[in-house]
């Protein structure tokens, strides 16, 4: 019924188009939050998403992927977080409007009023707990917990996937070696999250929703959360099939899909393609272009930004905090940069030293 629509979607779907599209939507959202959280745009977006899902559910393959018991939470998560992102932004926009007019925010109006926990708060908690309990029981009656064949170390399923909340990391494995995607980046995510309150220390603008006064911080957080975490989980769960090949949302997972591997390392581009001399034998000669790129990437932006765009930030944070902030941001941005390098130049590694498993 919707065959041509589905073929069109499959034809334009690829990691690069989906990632770019999502990033574009994200940029629109953080640039025009007031317009995009208005009533008609919100309802229109909701309608489009529901229509896409409605059409999708008529397709057998889409239905199967979306309704796999362990994937259902991700569908729920998309709607829950979509709603609450919209909701938080709407409240922030309203408070921004009040601040601009010199009025107190919604929360400030009530902050000196105290209410008794019993019954006001206890009542809210009770209703929420009851609603959650009812929802969980219905969910449990409706969907059986999956149980496949007994564990068999000799038969590995294709694709083998980690639990869904780690699929963002598994998706990063396409672009990075395991020591980065599986160890280094998760460590940086945890450290980065912990570092937030020690970098953004100004206690003003806390305790209520606002956007304009905390724009940069909120954009960084939302980008990390939505684009680099949730989007990668969605791609890893719904769009990665056998051999971790990419499949469109309506494309049947064909085990025999052949994707040519033509990725090259930076050293190969430099020494073979540009200089035409063949790869040097010693790794420290072979890999110096990659090391140089990395050094420039982590040395130049902090120094330049401290004197230009982030001058005020540098003054406010002082050297140590500033350096931690910039390094965390650079590591975060390195992920999409590496993704685009792969898509644009088939770049495999910037630094490739298989001699001791050191590939970047």
């Amino acid at each position: 019924m919707f065959d041509s629509f589905e073929h069109l979607i499959d034809a334009v779907s690829s990691p690069v188009t989906i990632f770019t599209f999502a990033t574009a939507v994200f940029i629109l959202f953080v640039t025009f939050p007031r317009q995009l959280t208005s009533k008609w745009v919100s309802l229109g977006t909701l309608f489009l998403v529901l229509a896409f899902f409605g059409i999708g559910l008529t397709d057998e393959h889409f239905r199967k992927i979306v309704s796999t018991p362990d994937n259902v939470p991700i569908v729920g998560l998309m709607f829950i977080f979509g709603y609450f992102t919209w909701f938080a932004m709407k409240k922030a926009v309203e408070n921004d409007r009040r601040i601009e007019k010199g009025e107190p925010t919604v929360e400030q109006l009530e902050t000196n009023d105290k209410v008794l926990v019993f019954p006001y708060l206890i009542f809210i908690e009770f209703v929420i707990a009851l609603a959650y309990g009812a929802m969980l029981v219905i969910w449990s009656l409706w969907l059986k917990a999956p149980l496949e064949e007994p564990a068999n170390p000799t038969v590995s399923p294709n694709p083998s996937k980690a639990p869904w909340y780690f699929l963002g990391l598994q998706e990063m494995l396409v672009y990075f070696d395991p020591w980065i995607a599986g160890v280094l980046l998760p460590t940086f995510i945890i450290i980065g999250l912990c570092a937030i309150p020690y970098i953004d220390r100004d206690p003003a603008n806390s305790g209520f929703y606002c956007y304009k006064a905390r724009r940069a911080v909120i954009i960084a957080y939302l980008f990390g959360f939505w684009i680099l975490w949730i989007l990668l989980i969605i791609m890893g769960t719904f769009l990665r099939g056998p051999n971790w090949n990419f499949f469109g949302p309506f494309e049947v997972w064909n085990v025999h899909k052949v994707v040519p591997l033509v990725n090259v390392n930076l050293s190969e581009i430099v020494f073979i393609k540009w200089l035409g001399v063949g790869l040097p034998k010693q790794w420290f000669i072979r890999e110096w272009p990659g090391f140089a790129v990395l050094f420039l990437y982590f040395a130049i932006p902090p120094a330049v930004l401290a004197r230009t765009a982030l001058k005020d930030v540098y003054k406010k944070l002082e050297p140590t905090r500033y350096l931690v902030l910039v390094i965390l941001l650079l590591v975060m941005i390195a992920l999409p940069i590496k993704m685009y390098l792969r898509w644009a130049f088939n770049l495999k590694y910037l630094v490739a030293i298989p001699e001791f498993f050191f590939n970047i």
Binding site: L116, P119, P163, A181, I196, P197, Y209, F356
Partner: protein, 259 residues
């Protein structure tokens, strides 16, 4: 005189010994109902009106705690039926499905685990969007991040226990990443440097993945380790950190509000 059942119950010594205060609407009694109840008194007597609103907190933190409690209850019930050995694990789960009437305990536990990850992420999202991590609450945010990681590890360790293909291979994929830990994994950068003469200190039988799995692959050792981590070790740490987390909310000035 007409017999009044509810009055008979509420006047009895048994009832009065349990509930010291009746449902009275004076502020004093409402305050006492919080203070004299061990569960309610996690809360202060009074809170900011802006902070008590569902629209402000989304109840995500409280809900995470409630979900945790339901997981403890359903998890304890599951432990009655489950033996963490390669011989029995899968069959016990199968028996649970086939022989226990109206058995949705495993479903409650599995879907509850997914729900807890979502509510914990949502809680962090809300705290971020309201700027509630800022001083004086910075360290409580750090504890929250650790609790978030532990929540995912709890879910990850529980994923293995059904001992089916889904479980085994998800954990295999997940734990393979540990092989590449710098210095501590046998396929990680720098591991080859840790050697005495010709003797490698880090190999597949001594690296961090081996410590996690209790073996070179996901087998009996891993099942037992994950069972103990899932049922005892991580929950203990989580409970301790949750206590600190809740206590600090009060000590750092209660639910965040505008200055």
């Amino acid at each position: 005189m007409k017999f009044n059942l509810s009055k008979f119950i509420t006047d009895s010594q048994i009832y009065k010994s349990m509930f010291r205060h009746g449902y009275s609407t004076s502020d004093r009694d409402r305050a006492l109902s919080v203070m004299t109840n061990v569960f309610f008194h996690l809360h202060p007597v009074k809170v900011r009106k802006s902070g008590a609103r569902f629209g402000f907190t989304w109840c995500a933190g409280g809900l995470s705690f409630f979900v945790f409690l339901t997981l403890v209850v359903s998890g304890i019930l599951l432990m009655f039926y489950y033996r963490p050995t390669v011989e029995y694990a899968y069959n016990d789960i199968l028996a649970l499905r086939e022989h226990v009437p109206f058995g949705i305990m495993r479903e409650l536990h599995r879907w509850g685990a997914h729900a807890m990850i979502i509510t914990v992420w949502l809680h962090m999202f809300r705290v971020f969007m309201t700027g509630s991590y800022k001083p004086p609450r910075e360290f409580n945010w750090v504890i929250g991040v650790i609790l978030l990681v532990l929540t995912m590890l709890l879910s990850f360790t529980g994923y293995l226990l059904p001992w089916d293909q889904l479980a085994m291979w998800a954990i295999t994929v997940g734990s393979n990443m540990a092989r590449a830990t710098p210095f501590l994994g046998h396929e990680g950068p720098g591991a080859a440097l840790l050697s005495i003469g010709d003797i490698q200190l880090i190999h597949s039988g001594s690296d961090v993945r081996f410590a996690l799995l209790g073996g070179r692959f996901v087998g009996a050792g891993a099942l037992l380790r994950f069972y103990i981590l899932h049922c005892v070790a991580i929950p203990t740490v989580v409970v301790v950190l949750m206590s600190v987390h809740f206590w600090r909310i009060r000590k750092d000035g209660g639910i965040s509000g505008p200055l």
